[in-house]
Each structure stands twice: as structure tokens, then as C-alpha cells.
Symmetry: C2
Subunit: 351 residues, 2 copies
DNA sequence: GTGAAAGCGCTAACAC
DNA sequence: GTGTTAGCGCTTTCAC
């Protein structure tokens, strides 16, 4: 079944290839070959003035002949900068984060920075390990797209380099932050349901603790309050994050005596899992229960019906986060462009 | 709409925090504080023998007091190893690759390696840039989950460090490779359709060129040949990769005079896009046309009906790729475990 | 214009 | 057991 060309002969051949002590050429090899000093070579590499044209040409020829590439490690040790930024996400397999990382990486690439992606897997210890990499000078700055430790712990690493919170924030926090107003996003979703005439609104949250997702909860409550409603405890579902959670929710829904007529799921995954499963149980969407997602992921267009959802401008979040990061790196100011960071409701078949 | 705590006072405070020339402690600071030499400190850090217990304790205390972290850059420059591996994927937003990266990263983490993810975006030049990072000693090895350049170009970087092909390969290629037998995967899918009684088999491929996806094409042809059938040109769709491609395919399908009664899409995305769209056009799945995907991604369970697909053991691919990589890094042998790299057909509602 | 030499933080050979 | 020192590859004064 498996095809591998990795047989013995070939293994040996390739082991040889890179185990052979093929000395990688250094700046002094180039200098020797070009018949100049290392400092002259360095000047050529860094495009400094004060190098006679013929020497410059000789150096360039020597570099080409040796297939020379400056060691970025040595440059780092000398210059104390790695030109690498770290991005911490909970899970890269979550499409929201893979798109966010994509947006961030494009910005980094434009400025000749590399990105190292870390998955915290919701572990505070892992997050600390990654923050320490900055202390070890391995990365110049960190973008936190997920927060596991408390603000004090995280902020204590600020002395080693800039830390920017991306689409996360602490209540009254003090770290540089680029994030959307999720209170507004949740408000927008629930308000839309209310305006459509739904009155028995269910609410899912990813929160495991009281403090998380507080913003969204506030938005939900605010919208309900405008119609003199409050959150019904029986329709308030915590720790709803994945497709599987949504599928399980379908069974829970079916068992309720008094059922909600609309659910704000806070997640396209949960919405998709719920919609696909609950219909196999004979429940009609949106006639018996309307559903609204969050994030406007591709999956929100795949279910039948497709999902009304709240769109986040991921590309723009990534862009502004990186603008902020680079400003900080250069010790400059950066003013967030709030106008480009608006959320938007995308109306589809599930409501 | 946007909430940002990044006002002027706070900006200044944080700029100060990390712009302040807070000298990061070095090994000699620790040595000084502990009253020993740098070599003793180095011995303690690296858990070498021959250090008196009391000195060891003094060093540890000094490290703690200074909040000392060894500079990994200096270690790299000294040791010529970065403990970073590069992984090149076409797009991290493709779920198949985000799961593959996840699997690879878990293995790396276990061995205290970091990984740097590069997106080639199907550009040969970008791929070259990333390969050069190995030449610059920034990364110790590269895992190629996508191939843009020809084998000769890629192999020429082997002298700078190991390169492992993951789920890609060159026909008669010579680079270390861990990949599945996609001829078998395609064969499996089409054979299943034939056994179910379908005879008018359509076939999608992601290929833009003749050479790509040859394996799968061979598998398709082999299965058809067993039933004395050949590929019908009208039902052979190239460059089908995304959900959007699948949606467009639905319109193309509808316009065909002579329609296939089953389609091997080679991709869960294409299958999902096709299924969700074609049903809105009044075509019944699987009664009028059966559909089979590839990869067993989560989306294959979200459409109605859900999608029959070919499962790839992603976690296992990642694991064996990394075993191979680490063996190469250590100059050792590694025998791929082919038994754990089997593909499997997952039968669901779309066939 | 150009080169010699110091030094970035660390490890390891060598001396004591 | 412990300290001194050379050197990893580079940039950057400082002389000339």
C-alpha cells in the first residue's frame, strides 16, 4: 500500500549528502577568495558606501562562486534581533485561527519577518514556555490570539519584547490590543433574531468560566433587555465550541420540554453541528428553531439551510495587529483604524 | 465599535517597558553573582558532572535571582543547530494541512523542537526562499508537504540538512519520502462505486498539469478497466480543489446532456460544494448522482447527505514523517511502518 | 576606502 | 572539580 523510495542504497546516498562535513562558506571564505578583508565583504552585503566598485564586484563574484549565504544566527547574535515573531493560537486546526494566522503571516512576509506558530492547546504552562522563547531572544515579539495566563504574568514578559493581544483582551487590560467588540457582535445577532419575531432565545457560549466570553454575554443581555427579556437558564449552554458539541446539543434540544425558537450559538461549528444533526431528528430549520452562527466560516455555507452568521474581518484584524507590532518594534506610535474593524451580520437560510 | 485600551498613556508605559535598555542577564552575570566561572555555570546548565553540590546550588540560586534564560541564539551559533524545523505547506487554511501541521508539531514538541510553518501558496520562488533558510542555518531540516520546484532543485539543498517529503512524491524520486499510495486510494473509491452498480463515473482532479495527480488517475483507470470502462472525457474535470470549484461544478453538471451517475471528486471540499449546490438545483443525491470525497475532513459530515470519503491517517503520516526526520538528523536509519499508513473508505449517505 | 580587532553569549578543550 | 580561553560568523568602531 505504501510506496517509499527510501531503500537502503538511497538512504546511504542522502545521509552522505548532508552528513558529509561540507563546510558552509563563511564571510571570511568570501573575503579570502575575493582578496579583501571581512569588513569589506560585510560592507558589500549590507550595501554600505565606501567600497570601490571593483572590490565590490570581486566580492559579489566570490559570494556567487561559493554560493554564500550569511548566517542569520550570527547576525542575530550580533544584532540581538531574530526577525522572527511568535503567534500563539489555541489550535491551528480551528479555521478561524488558520485564517488569522494566514493573514498575519502575509503581513510578516511583506516585511521580511518569519512567523513561528505555537499552539497553546488551552494550556497555561505551554503559553509560558512560548513566552520564554522571547526571553531567550529566539523571537522578537509575540502575538497572542489566545490567553491562558492572567494579565500580570503575560505583561511581565513585556520587558523582553512587544506583546500584542489579537482578538482577545483583558477587562481593563493594559497590554496593546487589537480586537473587535464582541459585545456588539453578540448584540447584533440576538437583536436580529428579536426583530424577526423570535422571543424564546437560546444562547451558547464557549466559556468554561464565568469570566470568559463576558463581553458576548453582555451583548446578549443588552439585546434581550430591550425587549424586556432575560436569559432563560434552561436555554443557556456553556462550553459549546466544536461541531461535536453542536451535534450533542441537538439531542439536548430535543429533550427540552419548553424549547427555544432560536439559538445564538456563538460559533459556526456549533451551529453547523446542531443544524445537520437536529434535522435528522425531524426538527425543521428555521421553522421550529432558527440558528445563528459566528465567524462566517466556509462551513456556514455548506449546511442545508446555510447559516446566518456574524462576519469578522479576519484579514483586517491580522493587518492591524501587525501594524501595531511593527510600530512597537520600531518604538513608534500606531493608531488603530477602527472603521475597518466592523463586524457584519450575514443573513442566510437558518433564520 | 472597536474597543481598544491602547491609548496614549498606556502606549507610553509599555513602550517604556521594553524599550528600556533592560540588560538581559548573561551567563557571566550569573557566574559573577554565584562567585564561580562561566564554565561552571555552563556545566550546571547542561547537567554535567564534576560540580560540587554547593556550587551547583549557588549557581541555581543566582540563575533564579536574575531570572536567567540561556540565549538560544548563542547556543545555536556555537552548536550549529537551531532546533527548529521548517514545514512547507501550500495553504495553512486548507484543513488537511492544518491537521497535518498539528500532527507534525506535536511530534516536534515532544522532542523539544520548534517548527516554523511556511506557506508556499503554490509559488516555486517562495519555496526556494524557504529552502534557503536552511542554508542560512536558521532551520535544521525541512518537511515538504507541497512541492513546487523540480526534484533536482530541491535535492540540491540536501547538503544543508535533511529534507523529507510528506505526502508528496516524485515519480522515481530519490528524496526521503513518507507518503500514502494515492493510486490505491483512488482505486478504492472508484471500485466502490462500480461495485455499487454505478457505471457512468465522473472524475475530478486538482491537477493543472498532466504530471500532477498521476497516481490517482492511474488508480481511477485501473478500477474502470476492471469493468471494461475508460474515462469519459466529458466527465473528467481538472483543477477542482475548493468548495467554490465544487459549487461551479454543480452548474456544469446540470448542463451536461449525458450525465454521470457518480463522481469521484478527489476532495471533500469539492464534494461538499457540489452536494450543497446541486441539491438547490433540484438534483437528488445519491439517487441521481452519487458523490465520493477524499480526506475524511470534518465537513464531510456536515452536508446532507453526509459524504462517503477516503480517510487518510493524518496523525500517523505526521508521526512517521517526524520519525524519519529525527532519524536523519541523528544520522540513523528509519524504517517506515507501512501497516499504519493504510487508507480507508468511510461509507456515508452520498453514495 | 580599507583592514584589524573587539565582542555578541555560549561551549568545550585544556590547564591547573 | 574548577577556571581560562579560543572560537562559532558576523558587525562595527577605530586606525591607517
Amino acid at each position: 500500500m505504501l510506496f517509499s523510495i527510501y531503500d537502503n542504497d538511497i538512504r546511504k546516498r542522502f545521509l552522505f549528502l548532508f552528513l558529509e562535513v561540507r563546510k558552509v562558506p563563511t564571510i571570511s571564505d568570501v573575503a579570502k577568495l575575493a582578496g579583501v578583508s571581512v569588513s569589506t565583504v560585510s560592507r558589500v552585503i549590507n550595501n554600505k558606501k565606501y567600497v570601490k566598485e571593483e572590490k565590490r564586484a570581486a566580492v559579489i563574484a566570490a559570494m556567487k562562486e561559493l554560493d554564500y549565504q550569511p548566517s542569520s544566527i550570527a547576525i542575530q547574535l550580533r544584532g540581538q534581533r531574530s526577525k522572527i515573531l511568535g503567534v500563539i493560537v489555541p489550535r491551528i486546526t480551528n479555521p478561524f485561527f488558520s485564517y488569522l494566522v494566514d493573514a498575519i503571516q502575509k503581513q510578516a512576509y511583506n516585511r521580511n519577518y518569519q512567523i513561528m506558530i505555537f499552539q497553546s492547546n488551552e494550556s497555561a504552562e505551554k503559553e509560558t514556555v512560548f513566552l520564554e522563547l522571547m526571553q531567550q531572544k529566539r523571537i522578537d515579539g509575540i502575538i497572542l490570539c489566545a490567553v491562558e495566563n492572567d494579565e500580570k504574568t503575560i505583561a511581565s514578559y513585556s520587558k523582553y519584547g512587544p506583546i500584542v493581544l489579537c482578538n482577545e483582551r483583558f477587562e481593563n487590560g493594559k497590554l496593546p490590543t487589537v480586537s473587535l467588540d464582541h459585545e456588539e457582535g453578540a448584540y447584533m445577532g440576538v437583536k436580529f433574531l428579536l426583530e424577526k419575531g423570535y422571543r424564546k432565545i437560546g444562547y451558547c457560549t464557549g466559556a468554561g468560566f464565568e469570566e470568559e466570553y463576558m463581553e458576548r454575554t453582555r451583548g446578549v443581555k443588552r439585546a434581550l433587555a430591550e425587549y424586556n427579556l432575560t436569559v432563560n437558564k434552561d436555554w443557556y449552554f456553556t462550553q459549546q465550541l466544536t461541531i461535536e458539541d453542536g451535534q450533542r446539543l441537538a439531542y439536548r434540544y430535543q429533550k427540552l420540554k419548553d424549547k427555544p425558537d432560536a439559538i445564538f450559538t456563538g460559533s459556526d461549528e456549533v451551529a453547523a453541528g446542531f443544524i445537520s444533526k437536529v434535522q435528522t431528528l425531524g426538527v425543521a430549520i428555521p421553522n421550529e428553531v432558527a440558528v445563528i452562527g459566528y465567524d462566517n466560516q466556509l462551513i456556514s455555507e455548506l449546511t442545508t439551510p446555510d447559516i446566518t452568521t456574524i462576519d469578522q474581518p479576519i484579514t483586517e484584524i491580522g493587518k492591524q495587529t501587525m501594524n501595531m507590532m511593527f510600530s512597537l518594534l520600531e518604538g513608534q506610535e500606531y493608531q488603530i483604524n477602527t472603521e475597518k474593524l466592523q463586524m457584519e451580520i450575514i443573513i442566510r437560510g437558518s433564520t
